[in-house]
Subunit: 273 residues, 2 copies
């Protein structure tokens, strides 16, 4: 069996831990992978932990007990988050992004893995203390972002649909009013997708008045489950009218100005940088 | 400025490279991050490269030239892929997954980040030599998997919708016949989402006759673009009738047997293990 050097072991440990965020990895996984003693692996993990701390690249936590081990919790410095928010504002402010109806075209942003990954880490970091069971989103544009947050938090993603599908078995449907236009819409979710008594976080690409978030809260009640947090990439604060109080966003949108350009700024959570 | 040890540098380099699959990272990024000479960083990278090779955890490639550097290409051993395929079969074979209409409930699988990540690595590895521009999928169930493949290949994700949305600007819509039921459906895609002359891979959760894949090929023609590959998690080979010839899958589904249990096996690509 191969023997690995410390350099090689920390390489492998870093890869396995960071690819499995918020999942407890037993030290046995590493003692077997590297054919090394537990004490050796423990020393390796100290190195990985200290390095990630120093580089503000997340942290390694120890989980005690029989099912214990170590797990990686994602993280990013305030400074890097701020730089990211500024960059996204710069991209979205481009004049040709304003489309008929005064919407901003941001589909490409929401489907860009590099951007979605960074946004996902920022939002997941805000919820990493909550001990949630599911990340919930509504189809379609917020799915990649919600997926990244679910992955970073080590939990299952749940996608609420506008129409029930035959391939999902029996579903629960509710009606909700979009807060901005008061149009009645339907959202439905497979009975099998959420266990009773679960704690959830709702992730979406864009929030206007928050009608969708209210819909999610009501839908979760049908599953005797609870919404503990809301996170969006862009918060539209143009009207000022919000149906939900607590949520976090990365960017704020205040409307299209007289020159036909979108006005965007990083959200308050970055102000202290 | 901090000085970092070799152990610390390989930890940081591993994290940055594996978190940015198929993206060329200039050595300057690392010389600045660690305040180290280029020759030192090059030696660190050799260690990371050799370790990932030895552990079958992907590979590190050198990109020459002014815009050069190193990049991480995801990879997984045939043995691990086979173990993964077997595990998914075991999960999907559970009797309570058969739902009215003889569908298998697999939504939870498609929205489980741990599973989707592994499946994404397997499919992306099969396409890593193709030099593609976009990973394309059709909403909704295949989105997380397509997102992972796009991320691993370092390209943009494109999501084709069933109805055009006002927030996506002008769209191109085509009609297509689902190969199994011959029902006519519509797919539409924002004009802005694909550049002319692009090369794409289509990723989906499930393939029956392949009517959707044919639809994607025709839709891409409207963008003067080309489909170079197709990858799905589950291939339904019950009827044997396929509209497309070349595609890869991880699992094959041959129908529900007389005892009401789904019959599933790992696909041929794993047979040589």
């Amino acid at each position: 069996m191969n023997k690995y050097s410390r350099n090689q072991r920390v390489t492998g440990i870093t890869k396995v831990l960071t690819e499995n965020p918020n999942k407890t990895i037993n030290l046995k996984t590493f003692t077997e992978l590297f054919n090394a003693a537990k004490s050796t692996i423990s020393e390796d993990i100290v190195i990985v932990r200290e390095t990630l701390n120093e580089l503000s690249m997340g942290r390694i936590e120890t989980v005690a007990g029989a099912a214990g081990g170590v797990k990686y919790i994602c993280g990013v410095s305030k400074q890097e988050s701020r730089i990211f928010a500024d960059e996204i504002c710069k991209i979205l402010i481009q004049k040709d992004r304003v489309i008929p109806g005064n919407f901003i075209y941001m589909t490409d942003i929401m489907y860009n893995p590099e951007i979605v990954h960074k946004a996902g880490v920022i939002l997941a970091s805000a919820f990493s203390e909550l001990d949630i069971d599911y990340v919930v989103t509504v189809e379609t544009k917020g799915i990649p972002l919600a997926y990244e947050v679910a992955k970073m938090l080590g939990v299952q993603l749940v996608i609420v649909r506008h129409d029930p599908k035959v391939t999902e078995g029996s579903t629960v449907s509710i009606n909700y009013a979009s807060g901005s236009s008061n149009r009645i819409q339907t959202m439905s979710l497979s009975r099998k997708s959420i266990k009773k008594g679960s704690k959830c976080v709702f992730i979406d690409d864009f929030m206007k008045a928050g009608g969708t978030a209210i819909g999610i809260i009501n839908l979760l009640k049908e599953f005797e489950s609870e919404l503990l947090g809301i996170g969006v990439l862009v918060d539209n604060i143009e009207s000022g009218h919000k149906l939900v109080e607590e949520y976090i966003s990365i960017i704020q949108f205040t409307g299209i100005n007289n020159e036909g350009i979108a006005e965007l700024t990083p959200s308050e959570i970055f102000e202290k940088v």
